[in-house]
Amino acid sequence: MSEERIHPYTHLLLRLPSGAPRVVRLVPDVTISLGKFGSFPSNALLYRPYNLTFDILDPPAAGLRLVSAEEVTRDILGGGEDAEAEGTGHYDLEIVGADSEEDGGEMMRTNKETIDDPLSQKLSWVEIEQLKKQGTGSGRDLIQRLLESHTAIHQKTPFALQKYTLRKTRKFLRRFTVLPLTVASLASYLLDTKEPIKILEMRNETIAVMLSLANVHYGGRYLVIDESGGLLVSAIAERLGLLEHMPSESELFKEEDNARKPCPDTPLPSANTITLIHPNEQPNLSLLKYFSYDTNNPTTSHPLHTHLRTLNWLQLVEPNDDSSLEKPNEIPAETLVTLKGGKRAAYWRKHRRWEKTSRIVAEAQKGGFDGLLIAAFMDLKGILRHTVPLLKGSAQIVAYSQSRESVIELADCYSATRKAEWINEGKEVADDEYGVGDPTIVLAPTIHETRVRKWQVLPGRTHPVMTARGGAEGVVFTGTRVLPVEGKVEARGRFRGQKRRRDDGGDSDDEEAGAGGRGGAMPTSPCKRVKMEV
């Protein structure tokens, strides 16, 4: 997302004074309605910058008024910006200065006289509605009237007054802030307002931890299992610089009909990529639409078009049983020229699709990925069983689950005793169909739990917010893909040292030879090894 300006057809996030977010797609020449907060023409936001705050002009005028940063801040503080400097700290009372002759010097005003009576508001509901309709000043008018008609207003301490004003402001001010729709803002929007289950209740702090622990960085190749509708994929793509897309002029105008455009046969890049494995025939990456990428109808100029590839579990695990990987019947060139144009195009399309799919599958099976990131409903053990072997040595494994239990179960699969059992008793005994496979290829399994605690920072009223979202705990498993010593010895057959060692019967003092071939002959108690490791 370029944050410079708002471009047509991008998704934006509008935050209302209440804090409630709205996501809108900025289509030119339409009216954007914010319900009771009014409506405004979309053109008023077009090519304007992000992060600004606007008041919606009162009808009949159509448009917005830019609100300055000071004004925004002042309205957030309820006017008490300097309260702290002068203030009395955290109590709802105020020392009144010496100039109140009438009271004979200093006095304390506390909220003890304040009557919390709904009747102290003299405006009736009907009157408020009326004012809302014909009110002016983007809701300011109404708030003003509410303040004026509040009978107990004089009894309020400045703090209480601030709070009251603030509350009314949140409710009635026809104002919004326009924010870029980034992975961070999308995640909190979906979590707070949409269906959090669909994104596995993944919080921003969890996403951040996953990106860091998986060492996601520009240039890497990442294997991803994402059942959060594409949230994890978007987060990775953002880190890889694949999310920003400026549709070209032509694409903008042909918005509707680029479905028929044939995909150009670009060579697939082999770095800075995301390889997604999905459980259904087609991936569910619907959230990518917020970043101008629709997997069903991809914009070919979008970086994700070439850097994101998808395959399903069948294609990875049992490719021979997947019909889409069967080579389409070859039609000889002579016959091909005789075919009708449409048929010929269909043939080529089919051929290209097959070519692309089989390349993606072959590439995935070859492995050598730089990291594995998982956010899944599915059982983690099975996922790891099939994916960890596809990682490079030292690659990081990161798996998120809503439920602590499934992550804990997973961590237990890599316990010291499990590893010892695998080594002692062998694969045949220790392996079970539903397990993780070889536990010795994952080092230092660790579980992380992280949570952000928000604070309210207002002058004199700084404290943690009183409520926060509950729900899924959401924990992250991490481990490192390692190459256990036995495997390594086999893999290193080409080394001079090992050959010599075999020939010599394993009794060489040669430092070099020792370096290469020690692995095979060393008597080791696996138990001890594992003990040392953990």
Partner: protein, 582 residues
């Protein structure tokens, strides 16, 4: 203070370019600054990036062999095999015991950038309590490999070591030859866990969230002030950025480190007191060296007094708005990190990192005064969960009973046994008819051999949690929006849309000027009398306004005041009632 170290003449490219390029080009962008490659003959052919990484990519831009590009940092690209390099590999001895170590091919002393690593490693051999590992047995194998110890040679070092160990911890030398280590590729997280601490550092839970919220991504320019030990630096270098540090010795150490790690094309370290001297960087502009803006889009301040540095973070040279005297600031014009006039500016995001709430309130206060919006403060709570199986040992292994049933049974047996003993003559050896309860348990209750899946899975939190690291204050500085900008935007809208709706953005307060209400005014009511007075005025003002409005409405709605308003954040101050229309 003078900047003592200015490196890298390159600037990070914009994101857009990065995302479109294929690897060969990226390579040039990402690693533009030649570093000395400290490899001796024998490993000279090592060029991990070109060699094996992208076999399928056509490589039109391959640089001639005579002028090879430096290999990318191992932090950003895991080499195919462990290289001789100045960049560290991470030796995983056991959980939470990590040692960074770089391998030198000439068998020379490993570079002693870390006292700890140096203690471990001498004469091309890594000595650990898990055994000895000649560097030659490690270099050349893939990262992530498990490495077995070489048979321990009875050299001087080991004898000394053994003496020491025996004396110290009484830790009898384990049969060291069976030990092993894992050699891991460096990552920011592993580095944080193993780096030489020179200051308090920022850990993963905080740094990850900060980078996520600051929207740091390829092409971003990130300022970190107070780079300290470089922990955050390594996490942040997954996007190109600059760092500032003012402690001289630390600067030198960090600079060396960044260079060794092959990150010096991406990280620029400047030695400077940012509170005094701001954030400009020296660049060659034509022939002259000039102080120019680094044009940052993200700022991370890990300083004792971040509010002192904030006034330097402005978009252009203009007098800093006066600040509360408590900050002790002498306002001075200071060009800041973002763009100068002419180029469209991006919003800048900031995070400050302070342990104390007093620091937070001061920072927030200054941020708000300087026109930053969306000020938010959070703290991160993080913990690691340990998983284990409840020991399935029961009473028979000497542990207590595990169930009520077991306890009851045991008590019964004890009673019976005692009874039995009392009846019998202790000298009598026929006691065997009645077993001692512990043994009885063993014979009667012998359990199956315990497997890895026995025992209940239980969890606990790591022994010590960081219950407070620091408070994170986030804020955004929106780009400035001037009358000219607005006019240009409107022209563009007219051009590109059907302009069905003429939609001005009114930056002017005139014609829509009812901006304040009581409770919002700067002078808060002080006494009842004053409140009343203020209210009276208010009411009058409102009446006046209403009249004024009717007049305006007759002229078919408020005029669209494009082009008149001046709405530069930070300049126009909140004077209220006076400007009410009428």
């Amino acid at each position: 203070m003078e900047p003592v170290f200015v490196k890298s003449l390159y600037h990070s490219p914009s994101l857009k370019i990065l995302s479109r390029l294929d690897p060969p080009n990226n390579q040039q962008i990402f690693f533009p600054f030649p570093i000395t490659f400290t490899s001796t003959p024998g490993s000279g052919t090592f060029d991990p990036y070109n060699k094996a990484k992208m076999p399928e990519t056509p490589d039109p831009d391959t640089t001639p062999a005579s002028n090879p590009l430096p290999p990318p940092s191992a932090f950003l690209h895991t080499p195919e095999s462990i290289p001789y390099s100045s960049s560290p590999s991470i030796i995983h001895l056991k959980r939470d015991l990590l040692v960074p170590l770089s391998f030198q091919s000439n068998g020379a002393q490993a570079e002693t950038h870390d006292a700890r690593a140096a203690a471990y490693s001498s004469k091309g051999v890594l000595n650990t309590r898990f055994g000895d590992f000649p560097h030659s047995s490690i270099v050349g194998i893939p990262y992530g490999s498990q490495v077995r110890a070489a048979p321990r040679t009875n050299n001087e070092q080991n004898r000394k070591r053994k003496r020491m160990e025996d004396a110290d911890e009484g830790e009898t030398a384990e049969p060291v030859s069976t030990g092993f280590i894992h050699v891991l590729a460096p990552t920011a997280e592993l580095w944080t866990a193993s780096l030489p601490h020179r200051t308090q550092v920022v850990y993963m839970p905080d740094s990850s969230f900060i980078l996520h919220r600051l929207q740091v991504r390829p092409g971003s320019v990130l300022i970190e002030a107070g780079a300290g030990s470089g922990s955050f630096t390594h996490a942040g270098v997954r996007a190109a950025y600059n760092g500032f540090e003012f402690h001289k010795e630390r600067v030198q150490k960090l600079t060396d480190e960044i260079e060794r790690h092959g990150l010096d094309g991406l990280v620029e370290i400047v030695h400077r007191d940012v509170c005094k001297d701001g954030f400009l960087v020296k660049r060659m502009v034509g022939e002259e060296e000039e102080d120019i803006s680094p044009e940052a889009t993200a700022v991370f301040l890990d300083l004792p007094a971040p509010w002192l540095a904030l006034p330097h973070l402005t978009r252009r040279a203009r007098p800093t708005p006066s600040l509360p005297t408590s900050t002790g600031l002498t306002p001075s014009p200071s060009p800041g990190p973002t763009t100068s006039v002419g180029k469209i500016g991006e919003a800048v995001r900031i995070c400050t990192f302070s342990p104390c709430i007093e620091q937070v309130t001061r920072t927030v206060n200054v941020l708000r005064k300087l026109g930053w919006v969306d000020v938010e403060m959070v703290e991160i709570q993080h913990r690691r969960i340990e998983v284990r199986r409840l020991n399935p040992k029961g009473y028979e292994d000497g542990a207590g009973p595990r169930t009520v049933g077991e306890a009851v049974q045991r008590l019964k047996w004890i009673g019976e046994y005692r009874e039995h003993k009392r009846k019998k003559n202790p000298a009598d050896s026929t006691i065997t008819t009645q077993q001692n309860p512990t043994e009885a348990w063993k014979t009667q209750n012998s359990r199956e051999k315990k497997g890895a899946k026995d025992g209940k899975i239980v969890t606990r939190i790591e022994p010590e949690i960081k219950s407070h690291t620091s408070y994170l204050v986030f804020a955004v500085l929106p780009r400035e929006w001037t009358v000219e900008d607005e006019a240009a935007a409107q022209a563009l809208v007219k051009q590109t849309t059907k302009s069905v709706v003429n939609a001005p953005v009114d930056g002017n307060l005139k014609g829509n000027g009812k901006l304040k209400w009581k409770g919002e005014t700067e002078e808060r009511p002080i006494s009842k009398r004053q409140i009343k007075k203020a209210e009276r005025e208010k009411r009058k003002a409102a009446e006046r306004r209403l009249k004024g409005e009717e007049a305006v409405e007759d002229k078919s709605g408020p005029p669209a005041n494009e082009g008149e308003g001046e709405d530069v954040p930070g300049t126009e101050c909140g004077n209220d009632e006076t400007e009410v229309a009428g």
